[in-house]
Symmetry: C2
Subunit: 214 residues, 2 copies
Amino acid sequence: MIKVYGVHGSPFVRKVFIALDIKGAPYEIVRQMPFSGDEEYKKINPLAKVPSITDGDLTIADSKVICRYIENAYPEPALYPAHAADLARADWYEEMGGTYVTELATGIFFQRFMRPFAFKQDPDEELVSKIIDKQLPPVLDYLEEQIPSNGFIFGDFMLADLSIVSPFINASYANYHVDSATWPCVAGLIERVKAVPQVAAVLKKEAEAMGFGK
Amino acid sequence: MIKVYGVHGSPFVRKVFIALDIKGAPYEIVRQMPFSGDEEYKKINPLAKVPSITDGDLTIADSKVICRYIENAYPEPALYPAHAADLARADWYEEMGGTYVTELATGIFFQRFMRPFAFKQDPDEELVSKIIDKQLPPVLDYLEEQIPSNGFIFGDFMLADLSIVSPFINASYANYHVDSATWPCVAGLIERVKAVPQVAAVLKKEAEAMGFGK
């Protein structure tokens, strides 16, 4: 059985849980904080990040790598588009969502959520303003052109949708919400993704795990 | 025809040139420096990184995304293994090679090559020593266990081999060479990859482009 190393709340671990849930694949969660200094975990992932998975003899890390493996191991329902050009676009959205978009969104999350609640420090609001006012708008403008006004990017819900939305879920925990007047397609996609039953179920579990469950 | 935006010398752009050359796919190079502040280029890649490609209506970026697209568009010869578990390992090596390994190796390259030659500054040798003495050894120990003592990781030469080796090529420009006594499998793989004819040809072109061609 697949073992997933990680914790609820990570925008990357979230992708893996949701992908496995949609595929109906059985898995076990091994609670693992990233960058914990745990030497045993570094044998699984020398980068000490989460998520990693093991499946029998196979040990891999990184949510993109893991989700692609899940797609091959459990093809139905498809979470990546079939056509080569669509797949390339989906891969690019997943890459972009997992790098720069996550860096910005988790920057807000770190300052406004982690610093006050985990470290009892004040957020650096100058840094937050720079992200919200200067760095995010060009990215949101770009995404607004890529995302349809209704439905999902490739018709059915896929990992590309989740990869773009996942960092904004973390930003929303820090009370940042994409302005639906300026970026209606992005804001709409975020709501549509959050309404996917398997996404909603994982978000409920992570709200409980992070201590703000209803 | 595919247009590749980038410059010779980037460990990521190198992967795309070599993949296209091995596939025998025609392409045109559009010289593009990363992070140049070029607003037109940001319409192609809002992250302003290289490489990006266009192929007809398709515009994508990131060497992993591009190489996966090239593999689908030009399946022969295969540059990714066919079996799901092997493919997942290959993806993980490509991810790791392109993130942490590149960060460390290009750290050496930036300090010892770019700072003196491009910026007329002294290298930060303390930072270089930290990379060489503390940060790289555990990564090299990990890779040493993954790499065979002969041949390539999955038998034939594939993008996984190139992704691990590519950052060390940049480090070698800054006179860092993986110690073949301590890490014989890694050092051997670097030499074997550099001897692949299409790799050797691209390295020759980049040496000329970077001004140290023979």
